[in-house]
């Protein structure tokens, strides 16, 4: 669908050349929601603009629907851009046009007739839930409504790709959720390929199928969202995951655990994969002569699959506890011994 091949981008500034993208390669499949996450300055804005050539790569190729768009003539590129919708962090709506006229804008550019424009725009306003605002001006809308107009406008020319440039970064968490739900809905209904860039883990977790982590102009990790975030391999990815799942143990527990070599073991059970839904704690307590004291627990859902970790203090004979960890590993969950805390006896 979209192939980014060894794309580099250098900018010449007053302080000499800066390389914003350093040989980025990505392959985005038709119909998926692909996220690109990075801190500010990682180059993600430039990267997403290389897909519709708002930024021209210094070197490398960008293939959209099998066609190398870096080799197109000016006219061909304009035509190709009509097949790639884009929404923006600050919406970029025309303040002098009503909601209807904003959504009609790309169709006007492409030379559609008034009747065709009306026939296209009205269903889109229904789709984004703004039919009653058709004659309002952007200044009369809330941020979430403005982004809905942006989405309707981006969809007007029936693109096969939608690029989202920090589309929810200027919105509050509640509105972000509703916009993400709309994007997911569009992805499912229209089979649209969505590429979104963000610095927010929450956005990736909520709707992306696959993700690439961009750091200082390089893709440091990419793959299915669930895999990347349950088993991050780089420090930058780990820092994003920390935003989402706080894996730090409470200070009080850490203090009690330090310098202990015996006592009750503290176990961390990590839930991923098919057994994540099974009632492990109660199973273990019923089967073995141990009791479990839950010290910290966090369960989250990434792409609908549960992911979490529970930190417990296990109380019982050493052999029984060993049997418990073997049992848990036996059903394909991960378990690690973090340390020991003094027993109560």
């Amino acid at each position: 669908m979209i192939e980014i091949q060894d794309v580099s981008k250098r900018f010449r500034g007053s302080a000499g050349e800066t390389e914003v993208l350093k040989g980025v390669s990505l392959s985005i499949r038709a119909g998926e929601i692909f996220g690109i996450i990075g801190r500010s300055g990682a180059g993600k804005s430039t990267l997403v603009r290389c897909i519709n050539l708002l930024e021209r790569p210094t070197s490398g190729k960008v293939l959209v629907n099998g066609r190398d768009i870096t080799g197109l003539s000016v006219t061909e590129l304009r035509k190709a851009r009509q097949g790639i919708g884009m929404i923006f962090q600050l919406f970029n709506l025309l303040s002098s046009r009503t909601v209807f006229e904003n959504v009609a804008f790309p169709l006007e550019l492409a030379g559609y007739s008034k009747a065709d424009i009306k026939a296209t725009v009205e269903p889109l306003l229904d789709l984004v839930g703004l039919a009653d605002k058709r004659d309002a001006y952007p200044a009369q809308l809330s941020g979430g409504q403005k982004q809905r107009v942006g989405i309707a406008r981006a969809l007007a020319s029936k693109p096969s790709v939608l690029l989202c440039d920090e589309a929810t970064s200027a919105l509050d968490p509640e509105t972000t959720k509703s916009i993400l739900a709309l994007l997911q809905d569009i992805n499912a209904k229209l089979g649209l390929t969505i590429v979104l860039i963000t610095h927010e883990m929450q956005v990736i977790k909520e709707i992306c199928h696959r993700v690439a982590v961009l750091d200082q102009g390089r893709v440091v990790e990419q793959g299915p969202v669930f895999d990347i975030f349950t088993a991050p391999r780089t420090e930058i990815t780990r820092s994003f995951v920390r935003d989402l799942v706080d894996r730090e143990l409470p200070a009080g527990l850490q203090a009690r655990m330090s310098a202990q070599t015996d006592g009750n073991p503290v176990l961390r059970i990590i839930f991923t994969g098919p057994s994540a839904n099974s009632p492990v704690i109660s199973d273990v307590v019923r089967r073995f002569a141990v009791s479990m004291n839950i010290l910290q627990a966090h369960v989250d859902y990434i792409q609908g699959a549960p992911y979490g970790n529970i930190v417990v203090e296990a109380q019982g004979a050493e052999a029984d506890i060993q049997a418990v960890t073997d049992y848990i590993r036996g059903i394909d969950l991960r378990v690690e011994v973090l340390g020991h805390v003094p027993g109560h006896v």
Partner: protein, 224 residues
């Protein structure tokens, strides 16, 4: 006031309105496109032509720094070429227009530069041509500012027209000088000044209303 004086005032008012009206329209027709050109040919803009931009910018600056009274006499040959004479209301329109064009261009340029670059980027992402970006994004988005600029132009032209009047163009300024100053009739001077004040007030209010009506950026703001 004598009926003769009343007629003189009416004629002078009409001459002033003609000079200001025609030169406003002409300077808008030529100055606004020039302002657009100054913006879009600038470095990093949609029709980047840095050399052309610098040359035109220099010409505009030169025209703007020439005192109007000097411009008035300096272009007499050009005026003769265009209207056939260098005296009269029609002849006064030429220097007024030439002085107003760079003025309008700079004011239009300032409004056009305030258009959010994000809007241009969005239009480019939709496959807009440079012409479409100018006509459907840049100009409509900066209309309120351009109208405000044209209001300032009208007010300046009213004042310049008095100077043009003094060299044979007629109009209110000319009348005020001839009767009020040279023939010692201060009441004529006073009436002329009052009419000019009313004119300026009227045009300013009209321009403000128009600009406000066109400005859709600040209507009924609701929360985010």
């Amino acid at each position: 006031m004598s009926p003769v004086m009343f007629d003189l005032l009416l004629d002078a008012l009409w001459e002033t309105l003609t000079m200001v009206g025609v030169s406003t329209v002409l300077s808008a027709l030529l100055g606004i496109p020039l302002g657009v050109m100054l913006v879009v040919t600038d470095r990093g803009h949609i029709l980047e032509r840095p050399l052309l931009n610098r040359v035109v910018g220099a010409i505009v600056n030169a025209a703007r720094s020439t005192p109007f009274i000097i411009l008035l006499v300096a272009i007499i040959p050009l005026t003769r070429l265009i209207v056939g004479t260098s005296i009269g209301t029609a002849a006064a329109i030429v220097p007024l227009t030439i002085a107003a064009i760079p003025f309008v261009a700079r004011l239009a340029e300032a409004s056009l530069r305030e258009v959010d670059p994000g809007l241009i980027e969005a239009a480019q992402a939709m496959g807009a041509t440079p012409k479409q970006i100018i006509l459907k994004v840049l100009v409509p988005e900066s209309w309120p500012g351009i109208i405000a600029g044209m209001t300032i132009t009208v007010v300046s032209l009213i004042s310049y027209s008095a100077m043009a009047g003094a060299v044979g163009g007629g109009g209110l300024g000319d009348l005020g000088i001839r009767y009020g100053y040279q023939r010692f009739q201060p009441e004529v001077m006073a009436v002329v000044v009052v009419i000019l004040i009313v004119l300026v007030q009227g045009f300013q209010s009209l321009g403000d209303i128009l600009a406000r009506r066109l400005n859709k950026r600040q209507i009924g703001k609701s929360g985010p």
